[in-house]
Amino acid sequence: MPQLKPGEISMGTTIMAVQFDGGVVLGADSRTSSGTYVSNRVSDKLTKVHDRIYCCRSGSAADTQAVADVVKYHLALYTAQHGEEPTVKVAASLFQQICYDNKDNLMAGIIVAGWDKVDGASVYEIPLGGSIHKLPFTLAGSGSTFIYGYCDKLFRPDMTKDECIEFVKNSVSLAISRDGSSGGVIRVAAITEDGVERQVVHGNNLPQQFLG
């Protein structure tokens, strides 16, 4: 089982993606830690790999950045080579191939989500071993364990984009309040046919909840 090497930067993390009719909403916290020190409290874990395909990164910061850069390169070439835009499925497959073939040397838990003309909105999860799972919504990262119950109860497949955004903000906010490795701001990205809409929710604007 790959472990973080001593001194390697981890992305403690809470990441999630939710599918709705017409698009997806991705959400993440912004804490990158090195042991107990927070090396970047405003990191962006929602990485663009193509115009309407984003990925959420968790695990080793170095490994996920490197893998995402390779996939971004391949997707940039894809349109020229194949004559059509890559689908989210293609992006997820590329991630899976890299994560599976190098499973002994990588520590990367990735969520791929986006919108394409062929399948519409899709969310794929690629956990540590390199398996791939297509799901209506998914969570990952150390903070996700605290909100599985909340998300399972509240998710509905017929939510609108704004309801999804609220759902994501509330979930990540709850995870941040319970997980030490998650924190900072909440970054949200909504991807539809019309483009990508990005939002940042700062600490003082987090949704109201029991704070102990």
């Binding site: 090497k5 930067i9 020190y37 910061a61 170095a62 950045q65």
Partner: protein, 268 residues
Amino acid sequence: MAPLLEPSTGFKFDNVKRNQMLADKGHLLPRATKTGTTIVGLVYKDGVILGADTRATSGPIVADKNCEKIHFLAPNMYCCGAGTAADTEFTTNIISSQLALHSLNTGREARVGAALTMLKQYLFRYQGHIGAYLVLGGYDVTGPHLYAIQAHGSTDKLPYMTLGSGSLAAMSVFESGWRAGLSRDEGVELVKDAIEAGIFNDLGSGSNVDVCVITEGNVEYLRGYSTPNQRVAKEQTYRFAPGTTEFIVPNTTAQRGEEEGTAMDVSA
């Protein structure tokens, strides 16, 4: 079937077991010179300001009291280095020469993003064995940029950051003092304060403060901007008067004639 050939380049881990056995027996292993270090960078109104202390340590000993930790990468880009001194020195040299070739190839001034990609891909390839922790700052056609690069190959883009053993002390200064749109003098003072926080509160950092201000088309390298650790004048003279040491039997031996070989040249 061809036998497995040993790679002729790259790291060799052949001696790891032997070294571990020697260490267990109590033998002292040689220690790489590290740059204990406080390095910082911040973005201000007109560009980026980099800062570094000047102490290089080898275990508990100060190996170099005034080393240069702000390395040249390109005329518009400099890089502060923390971690293993040799690694930061050579990594920045290698990427600096690659950037010069890249610049000649493209006919353009190199971009900070190009240096970032070269550095992160190089360090990722070595999976953290090259201990180089860098603060990269520069000004290119797209404006001022500041990046932090860790030895394993991860990068962060931030308006202000600190790295090295003194990073916590320096970050506390930045978190209370940084704001968007600082002037040049305010920025330089803040950088100086942050490095001095590292120098005085971290044992791995010390000596002087080097500052580098990078703006559009211009770089000010302020070596020794602040020297808060000057050696004070000796309070007494420690010369012994002739005759202090008593001798019982004087014994003088004539110098032997010149031996074979050339004498060492000490004219410089």
